[in-house]
């Protein structure tokens, strides 16, 4: 294998593929590697941790075709540090030689045969607008759990019914639901549960694409964006029946400027260190946000708002509340409340396609 490539193009490709390689290599050391395949003036880079796979191709100047598996972190660091210009990569009998200008590195590769084989595409491809998918992921992925103890909650549910396509995530404390209408990814009654981590990686790739070609197989989901490909295993298990969580009524409604609320939260949460609670005093023309940090101090800010309902004080994790307000579209948002122990619903005014349900903090 021997090829030449511009340093910046090669470095970007290595960074992208490395995001799927893993540093947790106790059982499969080769998974800390990236597979490089060169043929027809194309370099294809593959990274995988067996759950998430990212593969992409870039054009290179090819001398000799061939394959190698190189340590992902090390080679990425090397290429990024090389002088600008053309980088040459070639294999000899023992090493992978990486050179540019007068710098040269010889790196011990992994055995190509040890690298796991990649399954071929599974299922019929369906196309979806990249910007639409991007907006849904931006709003929903944030609510998924990172706690591996409850694997089902580390996934994002995509399901279809007669009302269209739903993208849903919850970590047990909050729930984000986006309706994508007739996006046609799935037929009514179908659903898949995709690891949120894979969708976070997909979010990084989406801005470069117009359309995404999606395949849902029985065990995996695949996304193709031009010459870049991402596949992920699906999560087994039943997603909680989230519709039961949506309150059927809400006697109290707060309407508030989205940016004003976010600004105030950004300020007062400076003091929400260990206590991690911001109190909202509801009842008048303004909402009073208060944070009290024991032995440290306190912060408060009044934000103009409209409120219809009973006077109450309700506590929230300021990060969760800000994440909800940030996810919404529109200049104003509504907070629908029952009582300080029940979930509240955040919606953007004029936006019926998204809601963010949040459990309060008992204070």
């Amino acid at each position: 294998m021997k090829f030449r490539c511009e340093r910046d193009i090669l470095a970007d490709a290595l960074v992208t593929a490395s995001r799927a390689a893993t540093s947790r290599t106790s059982t499969h050391p080769v998974l800390a590697g990236l597979r490089l395949d060169v043929s027809d003036d194309q370099l294809t880079l593959t990274g995988t941790d067996l759950e998430l796979t990212i593969r992409l191709s870039v054009e290179v100047g090819m001398d000799t075709e061939g394959s190698a598996v190189v340590p992902a972190r090390l080679v990425t660091d090397i290429v990024r540090a090389l002088p600008a210009g053309t980088v040459t990569v070639e294999t000899n009998s023992d090493d992978v030689i990486i050179s540019a200008g007068r710098a040269q590195f010889a790196v011990r590769p992994f055995a190509v045969d040890d690298y796991p084989a990649q399954a071929g595409p599974d299922g019929e491809p369906v196309s979806i607008d990249a910007a639409l998918l991007m907006s849904a992921l931006r709003q929903v992925v944030r609510a998924a759990s990172t706690d591996e103890a409850r694997p089902v909650l580390t996934g994002v549910l995509i399901s279809a019914d007669e009302e269209g396509l739903w993208v849903v995530a919850t970590d047990g404390y909050r729930l984000a639901v986006r309706n994508l209408g007739a996006a046609g990814l799935l037929t009514s009654g179908q659903s898949v549960l995709i690891p949120a981590r894979a969708l976070s990686e997909l979010q990084r790739l989406l801005p470069a694409a117009d359309h995404v070609s999606v395949r849902f197989g029985s065990r995996s989901a695949e996304f193709e964006l031009g010459t870049t490909y991402l596949s992920t295993r699906l999560i087994d298990g039943d997603f909680p029946n989230y519709r039961n969580l949506l309150p059927s009524s809400h006697p109290n409604t707060l309407t508030i400027g989205r940016e004003a609320l976010l600004e105030a939260l950004r300020r007062v949460r400076i003091l929400a260190q260990d206590s991690r609670v911001v109190r909202l005093s509801l009842g008048g023309e303004v909402v009073e946000l208060t944070v009290v940090a024991q032995d440290v101090g306190n912060a408060s800010e009044a934000v103009d708002a409209r409120y219809e309902g009973a006077e109450m004080v309700v506590g929230f994790n300021p990060d969760f509340l800000a994440a909800g307000a940030d996810a919404l579209d529109g200049d104003e948002l509504t907070v629908e409340l029952n009582d300080p122990g029940k979930p509240v619903v955040l919606r953007g005014v004029g936006d019926d396609d998204y809601l963010y349900l949040l459990m309060p903090v008992r204070v």
Binding site: G172, Y173, L245, Q294, P343, M359, P360
Partner: protein, 436 residues
């Protein structure tokens, strides 16, 4: 303005509280604490002190010096409750109360002299109110600062002599200008911060009294003690001390620990002790309207090496089951084969008991609401006493035996230990009465 600081020290506090409910022991040597094999003396009556029994002395020595003394188990809950009553009297005079322990406190009365009279008057009023309402006696030192006030209260104490106990003055006031006259005759060892090593060094250069110290050459002192300590002691020697009286601050941790009469090897026995302490810690957390984010398991082995293992979580805990859930995985890390002499549970990173509610909280059936259970336990205990309800692990032949607040503060307690010893004495009866 010259400050007026009082140091109020209860006279033989634990013993005096015990005598209130056992008046038949009045006049006899009484020792609190040290009833067990490894105990230490928490307090001794003035009669016992005549035989050379003092607090912090190992019980074995106390028994040797005064074999006919009555040894009582400590009843910390009772002393604590009584101490609270004493504090309430202090609070009538000033909010600036700095408790040092259950039986002594500093009060800054500078700002309330125009309301209640001078320091002596306030001291005497406090003494008489404590005496009238609680039937307890105390000694009061009044001075322009904490250092002198504490020395003055010692001078006000009853005196133990070979022929008997001589009542003290009750209130001793060091007026501004009298500091030197009061201080200079005192032995230099009476100054805070003069321990055995410092004392030896001072005496080696001929400094025996506070007066010697005050008159000593600064360069000499610095060469003997180091510059910092020399400056510090020289200031105290002339009666100078500007530390403020600081009202009680919020505590940074809450803990229970127990030394056992016999080292523990059995996993279940260790677990039971931990459950018992987790319950005690949780109860005190809730009493303070607090919750903890860090729980630490402390263990001391038979060879006296001590280990601690901690776990910190995002959601603060304040119930025994929640604390146990954090401690249980740590128990596996103990080297039981070395014998466990002491166990402790510490709750820290304390804060308000906020809890991020989860969707599981909406499911009344599935959710194990430890908060509600804890509230019910607190309610039962407030009406029927600490022993009315507790973890099943604290059940022993004598019934439920949960942790009383710092009940083990003065050492191991054989009667409540996992293995009971045979040498029961009259204190056993006292203990039961305390529980009733």
């Amino acid at each position: 303005m010259v400050r007026s600081v009082l140091h109020v020290d209860m006279d033989a506090f634990y013993v005096s509280v015990e005598l209130l409910r056992r008046p038949e022991l009045r006049g006899r040597p009484v020792v609190v604490g040290g009833a067990g094999r490894r105990g230490v003396v928490a307090a001794a009556s003035y009669e016992a002190r005549r035989y050379g029994v003092y607090s912090a002395m190992p019980s074995a020595i106390a028994r040797r010096r005064c074999p006919h003394a009555v040894f009582l188990h400590g009843d910390h809950a009772l002393y604590s409750a009584t101490s609270t009553q004493v504090s309430e009297i202090f609070n009538r005079f000033t909010p600036l109360v700095e408790p040092l322990s259950l039986d002594e406190a500093f009060l800054d009365v500078t700002g309330v002299r125009h309301l209640f009279g001078d320091a002596r008057t306030i001291g005497e009023r406090i003494r008489s109110q404590i005496s009238d309402e609680l039937s307890l006696s105390c000694s009061v030192g009044a001075a322009p600062n904490k250092f002198l006030a504490k020395l003055a209260s010692v001078a006000a104490k009853p005196q133990v002599t070979a022929s008997g106990v001589r009542p003290g003055e009750g209130v001793v006031v060091i007026e501004p200008g009298e500091e030197q006259a009061f201080l200079h005759p005192l032995a230099v060892g009476r100054i805070w911060g003069v321990g055995p090593v410092t004392l030896e060094r001072l005496e080696a250069v001929g400094i025996h009294t506070v007066g010697d110290l005050a008159g000593a050459d600064g360069a000499l002192l610095a060469s003997v003690l180091g510059a910092r300590q020399a400056t510090h002691l020289a200031a105290l020697a002339v009666g100078h001390d500007d530390r403020p009286v600081e009202p009680e601050r919020a505590s940074r941790s809450i803990s229970h620990e127990s030394t056992f009469a016999h080292d523990l090897y059995d996993e279940e026995a260790i677990r039971q002790q931990i459950v018992r302490m987790a319950d005690g810690v949780a109860t005190r957390l809730r009493a303070g309207v607090l919750a903890a984010r860090t729980i630490t398991l402390k263990a001391r082995y038979g060879d006296f090496t001590t280990i601690t293992r901690s776990v910190t979580v995002a959601e603060p805990v304040s119930s025994a089951p929640d604390i146990m859930a954090l401690v249980a995985p740590l128990l596996g890390q103990l080297h039981r084969e070395r014998g466990v002499r002491l166990l402790g549970v510490v709750a820290s990173k304390l804060g308000p008991p906020h809890r991020q509610l989860s969707f599981d909280d909406l499911d009344e059936v599935r959710h194990r609401d430890t908060d509600r259970a804890a509230r019910a336990i607190d309610e039962v205990r407030s009406r029927f006493g600490t022993g009315a309800i507790g973890p099943a692990s604290t059940l022993d032949a004598g019934g439920l035996n949960p942790v009383r607040q710092s009940a083990d503060a003065w050492g191991p307690d054989d009667l409540r230990g996992p293995r009971r010893v045979e040498d029961r004495d009259e204190t056993c009866e006292t203990e039961r009465r305390a529980e009733e």
